[in-house]
């Protein structure tokens, strides 16, 4: 007995127990050993009541053993496994975090001092040229707009296309189809009902507020777009403002009224027209190189609305794409169609 307990507590035995899944192996050891009463597992009580039938006894014992093992196996992940996983997870995440901190600090330590003359931003002649000659060459007072819509117009074209493609993808994924006879599909009816239950429609307060706010918001968006080359702002921010105004109108007055001026057709026509105009207006520099061919449009007086050549129409195009994309995102997520 004593020997056995000693044996139970040895490291090797503990390891075996751990490998076999904890207490289970101990129980089995006791059961198969000479004293049945020592361990007092639940199965032993059942055996006591039964008449001595060695075959059945053995079979039951085996079965209870097996079921207990399975139980342990199933619960392993909830108790011990989870603990081990949790501690491992913490250690590994800590290591990764420390590693990232170390790498980032190393990078910071190797950077040039703040404001020194040889930083890439200061020594790069491209940035210097943007600052010194930007207004003269593009005609835009706002250097940022001059940069993204003239020097780097190709980049902005890609961004507009990304927005358009994102809207198309969401439309492909989330669109709810209509039947051929025009009646709504079951899903959409359910969604509509759900929508009506959860969101207050025809809310008088919201409608009154939207009645005053929507025109102001959209006007402000138009102002931001049209002044993109003079003051901070531009197509992206102005388009976002207009899109927000449209969304407010939609939430206040519902789809029926919004569809009077914005349908799927509007979305496709406006987006495609804007992107096509952008590509067409800028293709000469995409193909010929920006510096060697003039667009022929006079740059005008820097600071005027009608100045800086193609930047203003391009801003309008970008604004249209952004506004359409925002509105269509909201409409698609809300009802599964524009």
């Amino acid at each position: 007995m004593k020997l056995k307990e000693n044996y139970e507590n040895t490291k090797w035995r503990r390891f075996v127990r751990f490998v076999n899944g904890g207490e289970m192996s101990e129980d089995r050891f006791r059961l198969t050993g000479s004293q049945m009463d020592a361990g007092k597992p639940q199965a032993a009580k059942v055996h006591d009541a039964q008449p001595v039938d060695l075959y059945h006894l053995k079979r039951d014992r085996n079965r209870s053993d097996y079921s207990r093992m399975m139980e342990q196996y199933e619960n392993w992940s909830k108790t011990r496994g989870l603990k081990i996983f949790g501690s491992l997870y913490r250690i590994i995440s800590l290591c990764i975090c420390l590693l990232i901190i170390f790498v980032l600090l190393l990078t910071v330590a190797n950077m040039p001092a703040f404001g020194s003359a040889d930083t890439p931003a200061n020594s790069n002649e491209v940035a210097q040229r943007y600052i010194e000659k930007g207004q003269e060459e593009t005609g835009a007072v706002n250097i940022v707009t001059g940069m993204i819509l003239d020097y780097r117009a190709f980049d902005t074209l890609g961004e507009s296309h990304v927005l358009f493609i994102a809207a198309c993808t969401v439309l492909i994924l989330l669109r709810i189809d209509h039947r051929k006879d025009g009646s709504l599909v079951h899903e959409e009816l359910a969604a509509d009902e759900n929508d009506r239950r959860l969101e207050p429609k025809n809310d008088k307060i919201l409608q009154k507020a939207a009645f005053f706010l929507v025109p102001v918001i959209i006007l402000f968006g138009i102002y931001v777009i049209l002044n993109g080359h003079i003051s901070p702002g531009g197509g992206f921010s102005g388009g976002a403002v207009i899109g927000a105004g449209l969304i407010l109108y939609l939430t206040a007055f519902g789809f029926q009224k919004a569809e009077r001026f914005f349908t799927y057709k509007t979305f496709s026509v406006v987006s495609l027209a804007s992107l096509l105009f952008y590509s067409g207006a800028k293709c000469y520099s995409f193909f010929c190189g920006a510096n060697h061919m003039e667009s022929g449009i006079p740059l005008g007086n820097a600071g005027d609305i009608m100045s800086s050549g193609l930047i203003l129409p391009l801003n309008i195009c970008v604004g249209c794409v952004v506004a359409c994309t925002m509105y269509s995102f909201y409409a698609i997520f809300r009802k599964g169609g524009i």
């Binding site: 239950r197 207050p200 307060i205 706010l213 102001v216």
Partner: protein
């Protein structure tokens, strides 16, 4: 002298706005029910912003920039209460049990 008075008044307005904001944040975390917390949070968007921007207007003097700031006040005072109203209405229409608990034993209280 005039400058100093203007500075003092403007700073006072901004401090009052910050105080209101602090009280609103404390209330947002202290209250238990959604509607109470929303009331506290809405104070932040209206009263605190009103005081802070009024202080900024006084500090800035009356010119085009302060007109823009005034427009911001108008926008917030129109938009934020409507927002709170919509949120409250959503809460009332989705979580009726909770609202009944909040508003006492009456069946139709607040609905």
């Amino acid at each position: 002298m005039m400058e100093w008075i203007r500075f003092a008044v403007g700073a006072l307005f901004i401090l009052v706005g910050l105080l209101v904001s602090c009280v609103a944040v404390a209330g947002t975390y202290k209250f238990k029910f959604v509607l109470n917390r929303m009331h506290a949070a809405a104070m932040n968007d209206t009263l605190a912003i009103l005081f802070v921007i009024l202080g900024l207007i006084i500090l800035n003097g009356f010119n085009f920039t302060s007109l823009k700031l005034f427009v911001i006040i108008c926008f917030f005072w129109m938009a934020s209460p409507v927002c709170s109203h919509l949120l409250a209405r959503l809460e009332v229409s989705t979580d009726e049990e909770q609202v009944k608990k909040e508003c006492g034993g009456d069946d139709d209280a607040g609905l």
